[in-house]
């Protein structure tokens, strides 16, 4: 009996260590992206490298570690003024607002897998000159109805903090608060600096369904609660003659979105059409809708080409105004909050893109003796935004185009 038990344990241990000759045990991914945007009088350039490593020591366990960064340079809007103020003044909205930042994020994740279920938990830590972020997340996934149905629940919590200046003791009203000049001395014990906490809770539930051998859908609900300082600490808003105050947005924001996606395989063209629509609403009264179409076709055994198009439209936040100093509606003050954030203004945008993926996975042999599969991908995307109300001191923003290019390489060993 004891000999049999020892043999069983030995066999189990062997089966865990000795794997089939071509089983994948590790995967390395690296991606490099550049983002460039040059609307009126501003230029923003971001380079984003990333590296991820995944190891699967056993069939039931995946261990992932990753790093990503954003190297940012350019200019953003420092002082927000609108047309009625801009008609009589010449506010310097951009030139002193140069931005140089370096965002680093390190992350780790574990996934425990069963036949029909998996559990994932992870942690990420991010730093910028003026921002710190710690995030924990967990998700559970299960299959049902002969793997035709998948349900997934995810939760993430961010413990973030943002740098700000210490306001004068006499500045008791937000209209007297001044914007942060630079990120120098942030997250030190310097007397002129402080930090504000931001808590972010994100909940997501998704349901994926295979309906026929060529049609699959996915329905996702996302809810997010944000509690903390959400303004840009560097930006000031002109509120009246001689009155310039740091941007002041509400501390609480509840957001929710529903996304429906369908993928339909078209046999005659050996490709798939994917359509996604999303509706969004939040407690700042922003409503938005987006529609995205992707067509991806296989060419030969190794190549895939994707074309993408996306349309987006949103309303403005209830406290958004292009000019808080006055003017005819929709200009004018909006109660106790003010913002110069163009992302909170009503606007629409479009995006088109191209992606090419080349994947090589020769059966029953390894490239260079170690690489089981190799994947190289490149993409280019351009988007353009049209702002209904947002101006820079009354000057409409033109050429609001953004370009994003990415190359990536994945290798499985």
């Amino acid at each position: 009996m004891r000999v049999q038990l020892t043999r069983t344990v030995a066999l189990l241990a062997l089966s865990a260590v000795a794997r089939p000759a071509y089983a994948q045990v590790a995967e390395v991914d690296t991606a490099h992206s550049v983002f460039y945007e040059a609307p009126t009088r501003t230029h923003m350039f971001v380079y984003s490298p990333s590296l991820d490593v995944q190891v699967s020591p056993w069939s039931w366990l995946d261990v992932r570690a990753g790093w990503e960064a954003d190297v940012v340079s350019g200019a953003s809007v420092k002082v927000k003024a609108g047309p009625s103020y801009g008609a009589t003044h010449s506010p310097d909205v951009v030139t002193t607002a140069s931005v140089h930042d370096f965002r680093n994020v390190g992350r780790g994740e574990l996934t425990v897998k069963g036949d029909a279920t998996s559990l994932t938990a992870g942690y990420a830590y991010g730093t910028e000159h003026d921002y710190r972020s710690q995030s924990v997340h967990a998700s559970a996934r299960t299959d049902a109805f002969q793997h035709n149905t998948q349900f997934e629940l995810s939760y993430a919590h961010n413990f973030d903090s943002v740098c700000d200046r210490v306001q004068s003791a006499s500045a008791v009203d937000p209209t007297q608060w001044l914007a942060l000049e630079t990120s120098a001395d942030c997250f030190t014990s310097a007397t002129g600096r402080t930090t504000h906490p931001i808590a972010v809770d994100t909940y997501e539930a998704s349901w994926s369904q295979s309906w026929t051998p060529v049609v699959a859908t996915q329905l996702t609900y996302t809810a997010q609660l944000v509690d903390g300082f959400q303004s840009d600490p560097y930006r000031s808003v002109v509120l009246g003659e001689g009155l310039l105050a740091q941007e002041h947005e509400p501390n609480e924001r509840a957001r929710e979105a529903v996304t429906a996606r369908v993928a339909w395989y078209l046999r005659p063209v050996r490709g798939a059409l994917r359509v996604a629509v999303r509706g969004y609403h939040d407690t700042w009264a922003i409503d938005s809708g987006s529609a995205e179409v992707e067509a991806e076709k296989s060419i030969g055994e190794a190549l895939r080409v994707l074309l993408r198009a996306r349309l987006y439209r949103q309303t403005g936040a209830v406290f958004w105004s292009d000019d808080y100093t006055g003017g005819s509606p929709p200009l004018g003050p909006r109660g106790q909050y003010w913002s110069g954030d163009r992302e909170l203004s009503p606007f629409s945008s479009w995006l088109v893109g191209l992606r090419v993926v080349w994947a090589l996975a020769p059966p029953n042999r390894r490239l260079l003796g170690v690489v089981q599969s190799l994947k190289l991908a490149a993409s280019a995307n351009v988007s353009s935004s049209t702002y209904d109300q947002y101006t820079l001191g009354g000057i409409p923003v033109s050429n609001a185009r953004a370009y994003v290019g990415t190359i990536s390489l994945s290798a499985a060993f």
Partner: protein, 83 residues
């Protein structure tokens, strides 16, 4: 999309409609059976909603930072990069 705040009744009616549609689809999901031998196309990379998540992460990040909305692309976090 006209910028007018929606009434609570209207919001509740919309939520109820979404819930009923989801319930209907969920109840019919069990009737949809794709046999294992018919699943080859469903496993094709072109049929995956997130086949290139890591490659497209920077694009999604850029889109989210340029819009006032979010959602539908996963709940994991890690940094802002938005100033």
């Amino acid at each position: 999309m006209d910028g007018k705040p929606r009434s609570e009744r209207e919001v509740r009616a919309r939520k109820l409609a979404v819930f009923l549609v989801c319930l209907f689809l969920f109840l019919t999901a069990g009737c949809a059976t794709v046999a294992p031998q018919e699943r080859a196309i469903l496993a094709d990379p072109t049929m995956q909603f997130d086949a290139e998540t890591k490659h497209d992460a920077a694009l999604r990040h850029a889109i989210e930072n340029r819009e006032g909305s979010m959602g539908g692309t996963g709940a994991s976090g890690g940094g802002c990069g938005c100033n």
